[in-house]
Amino acid sequence: MTETEILHWVKDTWLGVTVSRSRWLFATGETFHFIGLSLMVGGLLIVDLRILGFLRRMPLKSAMAFLPFVIVGFLINLATGIEFFFADPFMYWPNPAFKLKLFLIFVAGINALVATIVLHRHAKHAGLDDDNFGALTKATAGLSLSLWLVVILLGRLLPAFEGSTEFF
């Protein structure tokens, strides 16, 4: 299958046809995408800023208790993101901002995996009450906030790159 064939297939799926024909499904998806964004940002701020050492009054365990909000927000945005893509694959796929956004989400996923591993190692050696995190752990927290910030910006800049296939 060529790239064009795949995009045609996406467009002709039940999901693609239903969303592009509906008057309100896309707008409803966008609303949920923003709610998911807020859940992710709220949760990530607490977790990442705590690891970076900014919210010392928040016990580490309490900060980590907000992770489920991040995961729920991410799943909402993954689902609605797929909805958008299926509704108009030929608009999204050539857009360089869309491709970079997908790539950075992938990098953020790897980063989250690394963060999980180093946090577990830290908890095993130093205990969960010790919050003198190593440079690597702090780097994952800083990277997480930066990556998601750029992901938000790229999402809002998608229309500005519509119709172009390269950034420059």
Partner: protein, 169 residues
């Protein structure tokens, strides 16, 4: 109305409406500000509503500074967005509803803060807010309404894009 008509004809307003970049750039700020205000509000309200009661409430102090930062970011970027199409926005019901909902969310957050302070005081200086396990009913109601008002604000904001009239020629 004369002022709004004049505003609409300024170079800046025209640039916002007609350039490829004007709107998306301002919307970038608006989205980040939303994440800060609504995101932090959601997390705090979840705690007040009973999520993970071991989390000390006063640990949110510094996050509120960030939430305020986001609020002002959106007030400024909102005014800028408004200057792009002031008359059309005032004629769009979703825009007026959004402004009312923002005021309502602010009011319920203020009520929430007042209710929590009211509970803290009689307990004396030694009893910190962080040790408050069961939230007073008033605080829970205010938190639930805050969440609903923010969701309503987001819904109304999205509806503006779909219901606003065509730009002036």
């Amino acid at each position: 109305m004369n002022f709004l008509a004049w505003l609409e004809q300024t170079d800046f307003s025209v640039w916002l409406r007609e350039s490829d970049w004007g709107h998306p750039i301002v919307l970038c700020f608006h989205a980040v500000g939303m994440g800060l205000v609504v995101g932090i509000s959601f997390m705090f309200c979840a705690r007040v509503l009973g999520y993970s009661r071991k989390i000390p409430l006063d640990a949110f102090d510094r996050l509120f500074h960030l939430a305020w930062f986001g609020f002002w970011m959106n007030a400024v970027s909102g005014v800028v967005l408004f200057s792009g199409s002031p008359r059309r926005l005032l004629e769009t019901p979703a825009f007026v509803i959004k402004m009312v909902l923002i005021a309502a969310a602010g009011f319920s957050l203020w009520l929430l803060a007042r209710t929590l302070q009211g509970v803290m005081k009689p307990a004396g200086a030694s009893a910190r807010l962080s040790e408050l396990e069961a939230m007073p009913a008033g605080a829970r109601v205010a938190a639930a309404f805050t969440v609903l008002f923010w969701i309503g604000t987001i819904v109304a904001g999205r509806l503006i894009a779909y219901t606003i009239g065509p730009p002036p020629i």
